[in-house]
């Protein structure tokens, strides 16, 4: 929920807090509520209920779809971020809803004790916009139970009064235990082990109350196995004396970085060159590649004209070249004849042009599925895959103005294009025309009231061929008399 809110705030359309809001996922019988904000929860919206029921309860409820995959990826990044407190962190999805598990053994005294560490964690998470429920316990199971069912920032609290659901069991098992009258962990612990083992002999380990109970009490070990941090590709050059110009060190740095990348079968997509100045300041420039690359000469070239942008101050004595974003790039064989690989020079060209003139300047025109001329072509990043679309069979101009320009009609005729019009202070007399080609607005994305267009290809007495359109009809009830626009120029 909070990640969604941050994304919406970044997009600039976050709703105010008092609007009841829910995120939904597809359930068996239609969408069900995945998460809800505070206003919605106060209005009675419960998580796990169907969206239609909750709409009946709270008619003002706004619903959006939850991005569970994105949540999961964000949680993994958060697990890496949590390495600031202790080295053993992992995403905890042993129970129902995922969380983070940190093995803080031997780390808490560094943060001034256990309670101080929990407060520090909560503060840090709140700073990045997340609320968190934290608990500290000797075992994974107990920490899970306390974080979800225990008091706020519980530290090694008693788990006996917690409900049976705190044992990380499935909903069916919890229901069964409740029917048996075993409502809390304490009740369950009082039952003789033999009868529990007999009753749940066939249950899966993750659904077996006895095993879960042993994990909670620590009779059964459950170590945290943290994933490896993603490797860092970085090459440093430490200099004996401060220098001002990194040009001569760049090829060596690139070669070292490319060797690291080749070992890991990765190719760099982003590069960051950082210089550490003697006065303590840090200055950096970045570059990007259209395709993953570990060609040292190419990477060095990307920085060639931009090194003067580094503010070197009184000189710097440490240069570091890092590849923050990499993609997998296997060893490739150039063809047997030893020729160059097709497409690679083009990718290098787009990189060079993009680094030199900015990423927005270079675009690749792509056909798009639309009949509106300005939407029939989209600008994509270079080297993007071209969608296979059948082109419009009608004739299209070689040039298109960015914005259609209104022309002044000097001599209108009832049908067809104007016999004389003025565009950019020049009068054109239409000698021949072809049309109309009627293009209706796209009702699914145009504003209501958008008028249709009648396109004409006209030719004036000097042989200039234009693409004019009339916006709307005389009696379509959508505004005043139609106006004429010039949209394109034919060869």
């Amino acid at each position: 929920m909070e990640r969604w809110r941050k994304l919406q705030e970044r997009a600039g359309n976050a709703p105010p807090d008092e609007v009841p809001l829910a995120l939904a996922v597809e359930g068996t019988h239609g969408p069900i509520v995945h998460a809800a904000n505070r206003a919605a929860r106060l209005a009675g919206v419960t998580e796990g209920a169907r969206v239609v029921d909750m709409r009946a309860l709270c008619p003002a409820l706004k619903v959006d779809y939850a991005d569970t995959g994105g949540d999961r990826a964000a949680l993994q990044r958060l697990a890496m971020w949590a390495r600031r407190w202790c080295p053993w962190t992992a995403v905890d999805d042993s129970g129902g809803d995922p969380g983070l598990i940190l093995d803080t053994t031997g780390a808490d005294h560094l943060w001034g004790g256990e309670a101080a560490m929990l407060a520090e964690m909560e503060g840090r998470l709140a700073l990045s916009g997340f609320s968190a429920r934290l608990a500290l316990a000797p075992t994974w199971g107990a920490a899970w139970a306390l974080a979800r069912f225990g008091p706020v920032r519980a530290t090694c609290a008693d788990t006996a009064p917690l409900p049976a659901a705190a044992l990380r069991l499935g909903a069916d098992t919890v229901l069964l235990l409740n029917r048996l009258g075993l409502r809390t962990i304490g009740h369950l612990a009082d039952v003789p082990r033999l009868s529990l083992a007999r009753r749940f002999a066939r249950a899966a380990p993750a659904d077996n109350p006895l095993i879960r109970l042993d994990q909670l009490t620590g009779h059964l070990a459950e170590p945290v196995s943290p994933p490896d941090a993603p490797p860092v590709f970085r090459a440093d050059a430490r200099l004996a004396e401060p220098i001002f110009d990194p040009t001569h060190h760049l090829p060596d740095l690139c070669a070292a970085l490319c060797a690291q990348l080749a070992d890991a079968r990765q190719g760099a997509r982003r590069l960051m060159l950082t210089v550490y100045r003697t006065d303590g300041e840090v200055s950096r420039i970045e570059a990007a590649c259209a395709l993953p690359s570990r060609d040292a000469a190419h990477l060095a070239f990307l920085f060639r004209d931009r090194l003067e942008r580094i503010d070197s101050g009184f000189g710097f004595d440490l240069i570091s070249l890092e590849a923050p974003i990499t993609e997998s790039l296997g060893a490739r064989q150039v063809d047997l004849a030893g020729g160059t690989e097709a497409g690679l020079p083009l990718a290098h060209l787009t990189d060079r042009l993009a680094t030199r003139f900015g990423r927005g300047a270079l675009t690749q025109l792509q056909p798009a599925a639309s009949h509106i001329p300005e939407r029939a072509e989209t600008r994509a990043a270079p080297m993007a895959a071209v969608p296979a679309l059948t082109p419009v069979p009608a004739e299209r101009p070689e040039r298109l103005l960015d914005h259609p320009e209104e022309v002044r009609v000097l001599y209108a005729v009832p049908e067809g294009p104007p016999a004389q019009f003025q565009w950019r202070r020049r009068t054109h007399r239409v000698t021949r025309y072809q049309g109309p080609e009627r293009i209706a607005p796209e009702w699914w994305q145009d504003r209501p009231g958008t008028r249709l267009r009648d396109y004409f290809k006209v030719e004036d007495e000097a042989g200039r061929r234009f693409w004019l359109y009339r916006e709307g009809l005389h009696d379509d009830g959508r505004g005043a008399d139609p106006r004429w626009f010039l949209h394109g120029i034919f060869a």
């Binding site: 083009l346 003139f357 103005l401 072809q434 042989g463 120029i489």
Partner: protein, 256 residues
């Protein structure tokens, strides 16, 4: 009108429809006849220049790099996918002429492109003889043809191997509809050619079905009406202008 009145179908018999490029295979031109050519459109013929350049792209595969400066884009619009025959179009929009020259030079280092087309509006000191010479040499070395469309500019001293002037003409009669414009026609003037003979022509661009598979242009004489997907017919502009006049008035009469 410096064309010879005797040489009517100058071209096509020998060099098929990629005409005017008699220069291409000779002399210093690079592999495949790639070299630097300049096109000076008359006012109002900027789109015609773009169409002419696209019609003259040979059967090279690969994307086209189209570099435009800001004024050219504002005044005459941006290129579209029409006329590209399914080639990809990399469009680079820059604000200064000097950047355009740098980008063209950069683009000519890439042999995968089918052409580099640059459009600059107005006079610019960046387009000097030296800069053009560099681009011409690079184009010939890489084997990538380079076309420089210079809008609203004087044809000063230049190192371009071929220099064209282009103006629009009333289009050919439409085969089906007498009121409609047909195939576009241009007045072409090759006023400087390094390895060939300058001349003036009236060109008619027959555009076949879009996204033509198979041969893009048909071989054959200028009178042939074949099933070729694209063809650029050139007729020598005779010195007394009779043929041109006849053709032009024919078009206008059809318009009536």
């Amino acid at each position: 009108m410096q064309g010879d009145s005797g040489v009517i179908p100058w071209v096509m018999a020998k060099t098929d429809a990629t005409a005017g490029a008699a220069t291409d295979t000779a002399g210093r031109a690079g592999p495949g006849g790639a070299t630097l050519s300049e096109v000076f459109p008359e006012p109002g013929a900027e789109a015609a220049a773009a169409g002419f350049v696209l019609a003259r792209l040979q059967d090279r595969a690969g994307p086209v790099l189209w570099v435009q400066d800001r004024m050219a884009r504002l005044e005459t619009g941006r290129p579209t996918l029409a006329g590209l025959d399914g080639r990809a179009l990399l469009h680079l929009c820059l604000s200064r002429a000097v950047d355009v020259m740098v980008a063209v030079e950069e683009g000519l280092r890439c042999p995968d492109l089918s052409a580099v087309i640059a459009e600059v509006r107005g006079e610019a000191s960046a387009i000097s003889f030296t800069a053009l010479k560099r681009i011409a040499l690079r184009s010939e070395a890489a084997g990538v043809p380079c076309w420089l469309i210079r809008q609203a500019a004087r044809a000063d001293l230049s190192a371009a191997r071929n220099r064209w002037r282009i103006a629009t003409l009333p289009s050919a009669p439409h085969p089906d509809d007498p009121r409609a414009p047909g195939d576009p026609r241009w007045r072409l003037d090759l006023f400087r050619a390094r390895d060939g003979r300058p001349g003036a022509w009236i060109a008619r661009h027959e555009r076949g079905a879009e996204a033509g598979m198979g041969p893009r242009r048909g071989a054959g004489g200028n009178g042939g009406t074949g099933g070729a997907a694209h063809r650029l017919d050139l007729v020598a502009a005779v010195s007394d202008g009779a043929l041109a006049e006849a053709a032009g008035t024919g078009g206008q009469r059809a318009a009536g």
